[in-house]
Symmetry: C2
Subunit: 432 residues, 2 copies
C-alpha cells in the first residue's frame, strides 16, 4: 500500500506522494492566485510540485515558513522563476524538501489539511495553471546512447557492415544542441524549411522538410555544476543529476542528412526540442533502479562505476492525426535500453574539463529497444520511409501537418506509479 | 586626419574615436571607483567603451544623464552587468550611442573634458580594470566558412579527391558549440584529457591531449533576436549583428578525430573557447567593407544578398613558449577570406525557424588564407604534425605546456586603425 495524501490521488495517477516531481508554473488568469484586475500583469512563474491532479505552489509554502529544515529555512530558492537555484543546491537540499513535502501532504498531517485558506492558496488544479520550462537551460547536450538506435540508424545510412562505428563502444557519443529552441510540452511545432539532398546534378532541394520525425528521448536536468577544468568523477556523478524529463528531439531527416557532413546535426534539430514539464527526481526513481547492460568491451577506467544502473521506465509514443479522435500507439520502449548510463554520460562530458551549470539538459538519445515495435523514431519504424505505418487506418511514413505526437512515461510499482505525465506537440504547416 | 579626442590616443592605437568598441569590465580593487573598504564586495561589472589606453565607464555616463538622445535617455541598458540589453535594442540605439560618445569624447566638447571630477570617475586606465565576457552567451554556434581551411582539413583527413564535401558550397556548414566554457581573453587553458584513436586492436588512448591546437576565428555578437519559427531575411541580417570579436576555438585534434563520427566535434572543443573583450561594431567596421568572394555555384535564393560584403581585417597569431621573451608570429591572415558572409550565416542559421537571442555568438570558423603562411591553425601549419614549425628556434608541432597564444586583429585606415586588441591564453599542464 502506497503513502496516503489528504489530496485525492487516483490509483493510476502519475503523481502520488511517492513522486512529487518539480516544475515551474504560472496560475492562469481564471485561477484564484492571479488576482482579478483586467490589466494586471500576469502572475510571475513559480516552482511547484505535482500531487494527483493538483499543483502545490512552493512559493506559498515557502512564504508561509513551512520549509523549516536547516537548509531550506529562509532560502529564497522557491521564490525564483525557475528551478535553477534549487537544483544547484544539491542532494541534501533535495532530500530535505522531499521529506518536508511528503509530511505536509500526508493524510495524517493537519498543517495544510486543516487550514482551508492556506490550502486553497497553495493547491491549484493542474487544469488552471500554465506550465513553463522548469529551468533556464544554459547548455543542452544530446547523447546517442541506445545501441539499438545506433545500429538501426547506422544500417540505414551506412549499411550493416559499418552500422556502429568503433568509438561508440568506448565513449558515449554526443553533440552540442541548441538551447534557445527548447520548448515546453504543448508548444506547436512549425514544420521547418531547409535544404535537402540534390537529385543528380541539380541544386539541393529547398522547402518544407519532407521527413519530419520525432525522437523518443529522456533528458537529465543537471544539479550542482563543476568548475571549468575540474571533471566530475563517475562515482560522484549521481549527485550532480537532479532528475529526468521526457524529451522529443524533433528531427528533419532530409535537412539533417544533407548538412551533417562533416560537423554533425545542426538545422535538422535546432527548430524545436520539446520537454515535459515535471522533473521526476532520482530519489523518486530509486525504487525502479535496475542493472544497466553489461558493457563489452570494458569501458576505460574513468567510465567504470561502482553502481552501474538504469531505471525501469516504460515509454510509449502515440500519434494523433488531425482528423482522428484518438492517438495510435506507434512504439513502446523503456529507459533501461540505455547502454551508457546517465552517470557515465556526465563523467565523460566533463572529463575534458567542460563545465556544467545547474539546469543544463543532457538528452539520452533516442531510446529504441531491440524489437521493431520498440523503435524510438519514424526513421527506424518506417526504415527511412521505405514502409508505411498504419495509424488507425491512416498510412504514415513521416509526420504530417496536424499530427500530434504524445509521449508518456511511467514507472509501475506494485501499489503506485511514478510517472512523468506527457510530452506533446502538434505539427503546424511550414511558413509560406 | 582622423577624429580627435581630448583623451590621448597614440597613432598606432587600436582604439581611436573612430572605433569605440564595447566591453564589460570591473574596476580592479586599486582603482578609484572601487572604494577603499577592506571587506567591501567587488564593484559590479558594467559596460564600457575603449578609447586609447582608457576605458570609459558607461554606467557613470548614463548615471550623469549624458545619454540624452530619445532612445537612450532614461534607459537602464548601461546599468546592466552585461551588454545583452543594449545589443538587443538594435541599430537605432547603437547609432545614437555612437554619436553621443563620439561627441562627448571629442577634443572640442567641454562636457567631460573640462569636468575633472566626472572625468576621473568615468575614465579608467585599461591597466586598472578587469575585462569580463561582454555578453551572457545563450547559444554559441561555430561555422566552417573559409574555403582554404575546409580544403586543407578535408585533404588531411579524407584526401585531396574528397577534400570539400558537396554541401559546403551550398550552405554555411556549422555546429552547435558549448556556451558554458567560453572564457575571456587572458584566461589560462588547462590541457584537456580525453580519448584518442586506438593503435590497432588496443583500447583507445586516454590521457592529456597530444594535439592541442588553436583556431584563428572571429565571432559575431547577435543583436536583436528573432522569434522561434520566424527566419531572418538575409537582407535584414546585418541589423541583427552588433559587432565582432576575436575568437580562439581551442581544439584537441586527437580527441576530436576519435569522437566526431557520426555527430561532429564535442569534447575536442568544449574545454575552452576564448574571446577578446572588445566588441567592434559593424558601424566602426563600415569603412573597411570590401567585396566578399564571388560564389560559384550560385547560392539558393534565401542566401542571395543585395550587399555581399566582408571586412578587410588583418589577423595575426603569435605563440610565446614559456621560456621565450617574445612571441613568434606563426600566421598572418585576413577576415575577408570568409566565403559565406556573416549575413548569409545568420540567414541560414534561422531559415529553419531557429531563434537567436541577443548576445548569442556566431564563430566564423578558422580564417585560413590561401597561402601556407596564412593558415589559421597548427593542424594546417604543420600538416597534422607531419612537419615542425620553428618558433624563434623552438620546434613545435602542436601547442606545448606554457605556450601563450596571442591573436591580434586590426583594420588599417589611412590615418587611424580600428583594432580589436588581442585575444590571448596560456596553456597549463593537464590535471594529474
Amino acid at each position: 500500500m502506497g503513502l496516503r495524501s489528504f489530496v485525492d490521488v487516483a490509483p493510476d495517477s502519475h503523481f502520488p506522494l511517492e513522486n512529487l516531481p518539480y516544475g515551474v508554473f504560472r496560475p492562469s488568469s481564471s485561477s484564484s492566485a492571479s488576482g482579478a484586475g483586467g490589466d494586471a500583469s500576469p502572475p510571475p512563474p513559480r516552482p511547484g510540485v505535482a500531487i494527483g491532479d493538483f499543483v502545490l505552489d512552493l512559493s506559498v509554502i515557502s512564504g508561509a515558513g513551512l520549509f523549516d529544515g536547516p537548509i531550506l529555512k529562509n532560502s529564497p530558492c522557491f521564490l525564483q522563476t525557475s528551478l535553477n537555484m534549487f537544483v544547484g543546491m544539491g542532494r541534501p537540499a533535495w532530500k530535505e524538501a522531499r521529506l518536508t513535502l511528503q509530511r505536509l501532504l500526508s493524510a495524517d498531517e493537519p498543517t495544510l489539511r486543516d487550514n482551508t485558506s492556506l490550502r486553497e492558496k497553495c493547491l491549484l488544479k493542474m487544469t488552471e495553471v500554465e506550465m513553463l520550462l522548469p529551468t533556464v537551460v544554459g547548455d543542452y547536450t544530446d547523447f546517442y546512447c541506445s545501441v539499438h538506435h545506433a545500429k538501426n540508424c547506422g544500417t540505414i545510412f551506412r549499411g550493416p557492415e559499418n552500422a556502429i562505428p568503433r568509438n561508440w563502444f568506448y565513449l558515449p557519443v554526443a553533440y552540442h544542441g541548441r538551447a534557445s529552441s527548447i520548448v515546453i510540452s504543448g508548444t506547436d511545432i512549425i514544420r521547418p524549411r531547409g535544404q535537402g539532398y540534390p537529385m543528380g546534378n541539380s541544386p539541393p532541394y529547398f522547402g518544407p522538410t519532407q521527413k519530419l520525425d520525432f525522437e523518443l528521448e529522456m533528458a537529465a536536468i543537471v544539479g550542482p555544476g563543476n568548475e571549468l577544468g575540474r571533471p566530475i568523477n563517475v562515482n560522484e556523478a549521481a549527485d550532480h543529476i537532479f532528475g529526468l524529463v521526457l524529451m522529443n528531439d524533433w528531427s528533419a531527416r532530409d535537412i539533417q542528412a544533407w548538412e551533417c557532413v562533416p560537423l554533425g546535426p545542426f538545422l535538422g534539430k535546432s527548430f524545436s526540442t520539446t520537454i515535459s514539464p515535471w522533473v521526476v527526481t532520482l530519489d523518486a526513481l530509486e525504487p525502479f533502479a535496475c542493472d544497466a547492460p553489461v558493457q563489452d568491451p570494458q569501458p576505460l577506467a574513468y567510465l567504470v562505476e561502482s553502481k552501474h544502473i538504469n531505471y525501469d521506465i516504460s515509454l510509449e509514443v502515440g500519434i494523433k492525426p488531425a482528423e482522428h479522435e484518438h492517438p495510435a500507439i506507434v512504439t513502446r520502449s523503456n529507459f533501461k535500453n540505455l547502454y551508457w548510463t546517465l552517470t557515465q554520460q556526465l563523467a565523460h562530458h566533463t572529463v575534458n574539463g567542460c563545465n556544467m551549470r545547474p539546469g543544463d539538459l543532457l538528452g539520452t538519445g533516442t531510446l529504441s529497444g531491440p524489437e521493431p515495435e520498440s523503435f524510438g523514431c519514424l526513421l527506424e519504424l518506417t526504415w527511412n520511409g521505405q514502409k508505411s505505418l498504419s495509424l488507425n487506418g491512416s498510412d504514415h511514413k513521416f509526420l504530417e501537418d496536424g499530427d500530434e505526437v504524445i509521449f508518456r512515461a511511467c514507472c509501475k510499482g506494485k501499489d503506485y506509479n511514478v510517472g512523468f505525465g506527457s510530452c506533446t506537440g502538434k505539427v503546424l504547416p511550414a511558413l509560406p
